[in-house]
Symmetry: C2
Amino acid sequence: MPQPAARTRLPRAERRAQILTAATRAFARHGFADTGLDEIAEEAGVTRVVLYRHFDSKAELYRTILDQACSRLAERVGTDDFEDDAIPALLGAAAEDPDAFRLLFRFATREREFQDLTDSLSAAAVTVARSNLAKQIPDGPWLDWAAQLIPTLTTDAVIAWLDSGQPDPDTAAERIRAAIHGISQAAAQPPPSSS
Amino acid sequence: MPQPAARTRLPRAERRAQILTAATRAFARHGFADTGLDEIAEEAGVTRVVLYRHFDSKAELYRTILDQACSRLAERVGTDDFEDDAIPALLGAAAEDPDAFRLLFRFATREREFQDLTDSLSAAAVTVARSNLAKQIPDGPWLDWAAQLIPTLTTDAVIAWLDSGQPDPDTAAERIRAAIHGISQAAAQPPPSSS
DNA sequence: ACGGTTGTATACATGCGAGTAAACATACGT
DNA sequence: ACGTATGTTTACTCGCATGTATACAACCGT
């Protein structure tokens, strides 16, 4: 039997879970629009028909994945405020499910149809960053600049950390913190006295 | 005449150019897949049919835009090496055509069908960053990390600069440079001797 | 005033991926 | 051994955005 890959026939709940992880992996490569159902089915080692026995549509499957990812993230990092240990928490979440993290921050945040799911997240991040920076940076474009840049820098740094093989998380947290500090320092430079 | 918007009837070449800029604006909002032809047509103040009198397909239109954007970028920044004035050059290019810049770095780099157009660009950026960092950072995951992160940080910083209203470009260049420096410093920290 | 160019309107063609249906196959619990 | 749950196969339907065809309208140079 040259088919050692997938053990067929899982109980419903497990199959569902397995489809979710497989789909997350598949979507994490090219996002929603550029990932076909057949691709997902193949990734799960299953026929396209089976997908529909567990999810009503491609969109519902995707939303389920995104919901789950957001929930887990909120669970680890906290919704409202970003404590001092937010970065280690973020790294933890990313390490726990790298595909979900990549999917969320590399693709989902840019996808029209699903921005309702990610907007609150992003907006919150920017707001928090902004309020943290407000102590050091006067109101104006440079505050906007830093407040927008820092959240994306953070998630990009985490993704780069994943891509580079997840070296020591404590060091990573330290360095990401330093990078963020670098930005806020840069933005807090002596007022743009020009020349 | 309740139609003050678009002056109709342009000579062919100008119409083509106008379509290109309008399409760039439209695509820059949600990328290739999530932007319909009707949206583009409306943005150009023209019927969908007219688009096809100038371009064979949506894909060809998109590739034309991307080609142009890449060319202009290369023209300003240089293909091979990143001189010291690369950042001001990048800011200049972004200011000259913000939509194209956003389109290129926020969407096109993540779109499956067009990665052939952007991959060389991205790959070059990472390589250059890497060689620049190699002086300060030993080979290993942290070098990978910084080499991947710095290019994306740079383009994200430029986009954030655009979004915040393009305050003084010289200051911006300075601050982006500082942010980059921050990353490379962070990555060059004393070897991960760990706790 | 005429011929070509540019644009409009409208209706249609087409393809592709999502989604459905129905018949068959086989593991698994009991 | 039997019935149910799970999965496969195959062959569909369907919607929708892309792409096309045709006839009409108006501007523009000469």
